[in-house]
């Protein structure tokens, strides 16, 4: 019990004094979350649209792959990415192992199936009649896709939140690919692991508190945007 109280006090102290080490870890965490979410969206939205709306052979198989990808074990992804990035390995020339970019790549791979599968599910829930109508009026493929995305925006934002949340929570892949280097590839979640390992429960709880706070702030921001979207246009339309 004492540890928890001490940890909370330490968290407040660290934040109040703008502890430089903590700020660096927070910055690293935000970078990983931001870039991996952006990349996962850039790749996952088109994939999700194709899987949800497209009519091509292997669509169901693709969907099944995306769905099972949501349960991708992070340590396995971390292991495979790390081994591919070893010096002398196929992708060793990229010099990504033990770098922030490498961590972002691994995290993008983990977030990608989340975005693709959730987007596919969301656009499939859009009434088909609406999209048929748009097609009948001569809308291009891109226009139909845009319409489906707009109609499915609540689900798409949920996919975004899921991608971002997985980045904040990720430890296994981050440690294997990034090496958990303080000031470079150490995120809040992996820093907690190190502090616990060193028996420094106070700082571990402090870091955990900050991590929880960050997740709550960003998820709340996106949720408000999501729910606002939901009410806004309808309200004006009436």
């Amino acid at each position: 019990m004492e540890f928890i109280w001490d940890g909370l006090k330490q968290a407040v102290d660290l934040l109040a004094h703008g502890d430089h080490d903590i700020l660096v870890v927070v910055e690293t965490t935000l970078q990983v979350a931001f870039w991996s979410t952006i990349l996962a969206l850039a790749l996952g939205l088109p994939a999700g649209l194709a899987l949800g709306l497209g009519r091509f052979r292997g669509r169901r198989v693709g969907l099944a792959v995306a769905n099972s990808g949501m349960g991708l074990p992070p340590v396995v992804v971390g292991l495979v990415v790390a081994l591919l990035l070893f010096r002398g390995a196929p992708l060793g020339e990229l010099n990504l192992l033990y770098t922030l970019k490498g961590v972002i790549v691994a995290q993008t791979l983990l977030a990608l199936p989340l975005v693709a599968a959730l987007t596919a599910a969301a656009v499939q829930a859009v009434p088909t009649g609406l999209l048929e109508q748009a097609r009948a009026f001569g809308a291009s493929r891109a226009q139909v896709a845009g319409l489906a995305l707009r109609e499915a925006r609540v689900g798409v934002l949920a996919a975004t939140i899921a991608a971002m949340g997985s980045a904040f929570a990720e430890v296994g892949a981050v440690v294997l690919v990034g090496g958990n280097i303080e000031g470079e590839t150490q995120t809040l979640a992996s820093a907690v692991l190190v502090r616990v390992s060193a028996g420094d429960y106070g700082r571990a709880i402090a870091l955990g508190t900050i991590l929880l706070g960050l997740i709550m702030i960003l998820a709340a921001g996106l949720t408000f945007a999501q729910q606002h979207e939901r009410r806004g246009p309808l309200g004006r339309a009436s």
Binding site: F34, F86, R87, E182, V194, S197, A198, A225
Partner: protein, 419 residues
């Protein structure tokens, strides 16, 4: 555009800007050459990395981007063998010897940096009676724990992860009378022997918790990690039941020594190795300033590690301050490792060198250390200069550089020497 929408857009832009700024500020400035150090976890868990190595090394070598990967010694060696590192820090001499033998080390012998010792910890009531039967006998202690385990009164928690500590543990089982398998673990998968697969700190916590039926748990740990966790009050219910291994006990007095060595990975194996950076790191770890900081960390009364880079020299005969040019100067004494009880440095080359300028020492005499650790170097001195003793880099320890003071060779007699 409605007011609410404008607000929403402003908020979204603000969030995006804040995050983007963070992203850009971190990505810039990654131009320095990377130096990857594969290390055992205890260097990090003991606080030595954060508080000594990182700040000092970054200040002295800002051109290198230090990437310190803390994993078990087994994994560190595997990573280094896969070319994934420039420097290796280990504490498992047996695994490291193979690493050197297979040509992965740039130097023929690793450089010893520091040492502490392994101890055996267990519950305060000591159900296996280790303190009574084998207070200073590691092998005896293991046998007592195994006997109590078979009787359902005790358990042993093993790291089970090929780390330096795990290797040492299996070395001790190998010396015992307990039946063993090919891995030198107690044979037949006994119910009292548990392989945790965890780091040292987590293994200690598991040992303290001891979630097994009947009796208390024992484990072997390095003293540095134990002290750090006890200091942080993460470990409160364990006590040291065996330490200070007796010289007469099985395995000898050195059995429980825990020695940390550093190696530069051989660029012949992997062309991408940052050799200059690796050697700079090795020089740094064995430098007097780092070594003296180590002796005071975390406090000089209870350091987690003891410095061991330079051999200790006791002079029985030093040079005179003033000699006639051409005269022979004799320096003799004893040289031994800084690690107590370590083998004598038999055959180590000792050189007497003169320093006309700080960068170009001139070797004036050489000798080899005898089997009792003694040496005598003789040299003719023809010029004035500061003399010092050195051991070359490929000795079994880091190079020694011990100044002997400035020796003046009289000019009046140097004319005679020239004649």
């Amino acid at each position: 555009m409605s007011l609410t929408e404008r607000h929403r857009r402003m908020a979204a832009t603000a969030i995006a800007l804040v995050v983007l700024f963070g992203a850009i500020s971190g990505v810039a400035g990654a131009q320095r050459r990377a130096l990857v150090v594969q290390s055992t976890t205890s260097v990090r868990d003991s606080g030595v990395l954060d508080q000594l190595i990182t700040p000092q090394f970054k200040r002295r070598f800002p051109q290198y981007d230090l990437k310190f990967i803390a994993v078990g010694t087994g994994q560190a060696i595997a990573n280094a063998r896969a070319g994934q590192g420039d420097v290796l820090i280990g504490h498992s001499p047996k695994l490291e010897r193979q690493f050197v033998k297979d040509g992965f080390s740039y130097e023929r012998v690793g450089r010893t940096v520091m040492w502490n010792d392994f101890v055996i910890v267990g519950p305060a009531n000591d159900p296996a009676g280790v303190m009574r039967k084998a207070r200073t006998n590691a092998v005896g202690a293991f046998e007592a724990i195994a006997a109590a385990g078979a009787a359902g009164k005790a358990h042993f928690v093993s790291r089970g992860d090929d780390s330096g500590t795990n290797t040492k543990e299996r070395d001790i089982w190998a010396l015992s009378r307990i039946g063993r398998n090919a891995e030198n673990e107690p044979n037949g998968n006994p119910g009292w022997y548990h392989k945790a697969g965890l780091g040292m700190a987590d293994t200690l916590r598991l040992t303290q918790q001891c979630p097994f039926r009947g009796g208390g748990c024992y484990t072997i740990t390095d003293r540095g990690t134990l002290q750090q966790l006890t200091h942080r009050r993460a470990i409160t219910a364990l006590r040291t039941v065996m330490d200070d291994q007796s010289a007469r006990a099985r395995g000898g007095g050195n059995l429980m020594l825990n020695v940390y060595n550093v190696y530069a990975v051989n660029p012949r194996k992997f062309r991408s190795v940052n050799l200059r950076g690796a050697l700079a790191f090795l020089d740094f770890m064995t430098s007097p300033s780092f070594q003296s900081a180590l002796a005071r960390f975390p406090s000089s009364r209870r350091p987690g590690f003891f410095p061991a880079a330079t051999p200790r020299v006791t002079l029985t005969r030093g040079p005179r301050r003033t000699v006639a040019a051409g005269d022979t100067v004799t320096v003799s004494g004893a040289i031994r490792s800084a690690i107590p009880g370590a083998d004598p440095l038999t055959g180590l080359s000792v050189r007497l060198a003169r320093l006309p300028t700080p960068v170009t020492p001139v070797v004036v005499g050489r000798a080899r250390v005898s089997s009792s650790g003694r040496f005598t170097v003789r040299a003719r001195v023809t010029r004035t200069g500061a003399l010092f003793l050195t051991t070359p880099r490929f000795g079994s320890l880091s190079p020694l550089s011990r100044p002997l003071g400035r020796i003046t060779a009289r000019t009046g007699t140097s004319a005679r020497a020239l004649r």
